[in-house]
């Protein structure tokens, strides 16, 4: 689960991780009102106006409606003109940004609507660094990854200058050890106060990651200010889905407007659904088989419209819900139901499909492939239903048939 930058920074700040002061705003008036107090309390006439969306690359992103405005804007007007000048500029920016669509490398062409801004104090930066905490699957442990190349995407650093990436493995039995934090700080070139602050920062970050069950905490850039403070200038946090049950405070931060509506509905019904761009709707049991079904549709020349795993024990209601979600997508030109019945019996699936078609209606071709437990009874139910359903002998046969029919 993802959250916004301002939310991540609040969680960090609560856990002793230094972050700039800032105020979240959902209206132009709130944005403008934030400026004066921020400048007065920090003594810095510079403020930054940052779009809050669940996607990276905001700084280089541009608004569809205002191609001259970026996703993150540093307001320097206060340097010469004081608070009134800063407020005037923030008013201009907020008016353009709120409600507009920000396109970044991570949002895709359609972009994301900006509903919130974060108005933050300006920081006198001496150095920009990078740090993150994430799971290393090869060792089954969390690692702290750090680099002197702050502000650059870590994937690019890894590709071009891998020697600039520092890593320390966190033993879950001990947590981040002091010498590991010191080595990282030294590797980042931190000295004196900055080194001491850096070690404290890294310990707090590692502890927050464990406490909150994050699957990623990424600070890029991590900055050292001219007075030696080590601070998270940006902050990205995402949380491990399986552990959310024990973090109601984190779940409360969920911004459903950032998530796909169909994916949210699917979640309510216990279905695992991901919307894709193609035309063939898929309904499958099992995640691996669901992925493989997308692959085989692709292989025979079609494009899947979704990933949908109904799970190992779906009942009729879930099948009906799954059908509704698939058919609600106007791009869908055909549906492929691919079931290998194990614990989930083919006759249950068949009954669900028949019921769903009767309830929802069927305006596109439907191919059903059933195999496994009670397969004959399942096929009989489909045949007896009188519905216009095409049977498939195996997965490939089914994929070929649905792609053909959907043309």
């Amino acid at each position: 689960m993802k959250i916004h930058e301002y939310q991540a920074k609040a969680l960090m700040s609560d856990r002793g991780i230094a972050v700039p002061k800032g105020v979240v705003a959902t209206t132009v008036a709130e944005a403008v009102a934030a400026v004066g107090p921020l400048i007065e309390s920090t003594g810095n006439p510079v403020v930054v106006v940052k779009s809050q969306i669940h996607a990276g690359g905001r700084g280089k992103g541009r608004f569809k409606e205002h191609p001259d405005v970026g996703g993150v804007n540093v307001v320097l007007e206060g340097l010469a003109g004081g608070i009134p000048a800063a407020e005037a500029r923030v008013r201009e920016l907020a008016t353009a940004m709120l409600g507009s669509t920000l396109v970044t490398v991570q949002t895709g062409e359609e972009g994301k609507r900006v509903n919130r801004l974060y108005i933050e104090q300006g920081i006198d930066i001496a150095t920009e660094l990078y740090v993150s905490v994430l799971l290393d699957r090869a060792t089954s442990r969390n690692i702290i990854m750090a680099s002197t190349e702050g502000g650059t995407e870590i994937e690019i650093v890894a590709e071009e200058t891998p020697e600039k990436i520092l890593m320390e493995e966190i033993d879950p039995g001990f947590g981040l050890l002091d010498f590991q934090a010191r080595e990282l700080a030294a590797g980042l070139g931190l000295e004196g106060d900055a080194a001491r602050n850096g070690v404290r920062f890294l310990h707090a970050l590692a502890a927050a990651s464990v406490e909150l069950d994050t699957d990623l905490v990424e600070i890029n850039p991590l900055v050292v200010t001219t007075d030696g403070t080590v601070m998270a200038l940006d902050g990205k946090m995402s949380f491990e889905a399986n552990a959310l049950y024990r973090h109601p405070d984190v779940v409360a931060l969920r911004d459903e407007s950032e998530e796909d509506a169909a994916e949210l509905t699917a979640k309510e019904y216990g279905l695992s659904f991901i919307k894709l761009d193609g035309t063939i709707g898929c309904m499958v049991n099992g995640a691996g088989l669901a992925m493989a079904t997308m692959d085989i549709i692709n292989y025979v020349g079609g494009e899947p419209a979704n990933f949908l795993d109904v799970g190992g024990g779906a009942d009729k209601d879930q099948i009906v819900a799954a059908f509704k979600i698939i058919t609600a997508d106007p791009n869908v030109k055909g549906i492929f139901v691919n079931i290998f019945g194990g614990i989930m019996r083919c006759d249950t699936i068949a009954e669900g499909v028949v019921e769903a078609v009767k309830e929802v209606g069927l305006e596109v071709p439907l191919v059903v492939r059933l195999e496994g437990t009670n397969v004959d009874r399942g096929k009989q139910i489909i045949d007896d239903s009188g519905l216009n359903v095409v049977s498939a002998a195996d997965m490939k046969d089914g994929a070929i048939k649905i792609v053909e029919l959907a043309r």
Partner: protein, 308 residues
Amino acid sequence: MSVLVNKDTRVLVQGLGKTGRFHTDKAIAYGTNMVGAVHPSRAGEIEVFTGETDHSGVEGRPDSYDVRVPIFRDVAEAAKATGANATVVYVPPPFAADAIMEAAAAGIELIIAITEGIPVADMVVAKRYLQDKDVRLVGPNCPGVITPRQCKIGIMPGYIHTPGRVGVVSRSGTLTYEAVHQLTLNGLGQTTAIGIGGDPVNGTNFVDCLSLFNDDPATEGVIMIGEIGGTAEEEAAAWITQYMTKPVAGFIAGTSAPPGKRMGHAGAIISGGKGTADAKIAALEAAGVTVAATPTDMGSAMLEALSA
């Protein structure tokens, strides 16, 4: 021959909720030696399982069964009383990692964790706890392990399996069934089928299973079914190049998966350009693995690998 489980495996069940009870019953119907259950609040009780024998399982049994499984307070007590050497974990996610560690502390050699949805951080701790112990964890979030006609531990449908020549190892449940079904249809059958699970932190990986199958005289070839996310398949490819003496076929799910999206399994995600199906397929092919182009071709890819 087989790996991990056989007719002599004595199995405990941890977690006798709806799912645990249902699958314990199916395992008994198949002929698995279920010797005890662990349920703290029901210690001392007996759980009764009766029904019709699943004749696709262990041979030579009457048409019905009536099995009484004693319930124990904890794994240590259960192990001591029953001589169990394996356990299957159906405990709900918040308590499952603890159940795994408890089984390890009790010295159970083989722990098969079926539970889906265990917090990753809990598994990081559990794996650390297990690292110095002489136990093997399979899973979590897996269908389990089956040696056809000998022992079924987990949630897979028993009847699709048939004794034979091929070892099966997979990160996915239904895709394993698909492969097993194809191997049964083309007459190859299976020595043992192992589901290693779809989570990012798991106990047994591809390399462990390839090594077991490599040393099993009855296994003539191995089919491994991987998917996007992580580098377990690439590590397997490196191991195959160096050590594998038997033909290997494979399939990788997720060639059409978009980056940054978790495809159902917690571990199935392409992140930062890493863990793509294409990279895994290339690594396996470079290691001489016959990779099936589609999931329908898994059985024929195994036949091809065996006859090469």
